[in-house]
Assembly symmetry: C2
Homo-oligomer: 243 residues x 2
Amino acid sequence: MSVEFDRVLIEPAYRKVAAAIGERILSRALRQGERLPPETELARQFGVNRSTVREALRELESRGLLQRRPGSKLMSVSRPQPATIGQGVSHALLLHDVTVHHLWEALTILEPPLAAAAAAARTPADLEALGEAIAACGAAATDTATAVQRTAEVFRCIARAAHNPVLGLAQEPLLQLLEPSLRIMIDRVPQARSRITAAQRRLLEAIEAQDEAAAREWMARHIRDFRRGYDLAGIDLSLRLTA
Amino acid sequence: MSVEFDRVLIEPAYRKVAAAIGERILSRALRQGERLPPETELARQFGVNRSTVREALRELESRGLLQRRPGSKLMSVSRPQPATIGQGVSHALLLHDVTVHHLWEALTILEPPLAAAAAAARTPADLEALGEAIAACGAAATDTATAVQRTAEVFRCIARAAHNPVLGLAQEPLLQLLEPSLRIMIDRVPQARSRITAAQRRLLEAIEAQDEAAAREWMARHIRDFRRGYDLAGIDLSLRLTA
DNA sequence: ATCGTATGATTGTCGGACAAACCGGCAACC
DNA sequence: GGTTGCCGGTTTGTCCGACAATCATACGAT
């Protein structure tokens, strides 16, 4: 007895259309920057209504596979931008009740090796970009929000210097999640900015000297310092992160 | 001279609607599992056409913020599943020309600390789940595809044992990207399966004993072994990953 | 050369329409 | 009693047709 059947999957047309276009993009049959035909033409090709095509396009758009370039109405194929993808991940994490401690632990694990990899792989151009980012971050900005943004930008520069997109993209949601709590921390702890700047300079020196061990160690201290900042700011590490 | 204006941003209605609903979900004004009103009602509330509402729903659906529970036509609020999010990230990475080496380097950095964290935080329930996953992976499956799937599942169990969603979600795209190349490797290297199983058993022992250092070390060897496998299988590490 | 205008293509949005699927309930039936 | 069949109401999936706004392009005027 007990004949078991698999759940028969019914797929709406808009998802089939999205899958068809998405598969072409992933397989690189459609190249980056290439422009898609107009919606009416797509509707004709797929044999569905324009409304159906539009629902499919919205899905691909939100995955970052399609975007509208300024000055063009036609959709064009694009590679998903780290900021976009990172936003999806950080939203997911927010809904999964991530705490400050989770985030800090992840930073502890990810960032020091990333700094080491950056020290190993950095080019002169990376070095220059990192130097500028650190200078911008050190410049006494009146606005806390921009100060936090620039701190995140320094991390991004380091990730870029490591020349590993996987690590860069893994880091992006962490930076986005870090923003609100870091803003509070900088606001409450007066010496936070100078400590961050000092750590960044040490990091820059280590990465410039291609000293992997030093880069790893300074970054580890930098992250540990964040924890101290949270304590000083009276931020409960077991608190859930917010948007 | 040279008066500079910011780019005036025009946002289509479907994106505004999506943003409005998404913001409610992120702020937890709409709780998990709660069901959204029907499309016609949403259209009435927002003062737009149903087609416009549908385009917005497609966007939220693809971000995993909404899903249709089986047996219900109404959309219900959901937290994005790691597999869904991971797919978005791995697609992005594929389009960013990620190589086997990038992936391997990321695994090298992420997995050993993850195993250590698992050793520290694991509960008896985690231990049991991990044991079962390893047993299932060790059982000689004829199918290479399922063998790879089960290997990935072991990694997921370890991440769950670490009780850190950030790390778990960071790992997910790596596992998805790993699949194709690992399949090739297992097919070409006869001893790969037994080496993987052996490493998993060592890991289980270390995690069971809550020996962080040992867990870290065995995982590091495990990942290094992957690299050896790639070499033996004749897989060029500078090759771009494929879907 | 710059500007204004006509023209065509394309999107954003709308209203309405209908079949199919699903739910709950109720009656019929073995 | 449990299963089956049927009915009405709700909701989605899909389609059709329509129109204003926007943009590209070409063309002509100043």
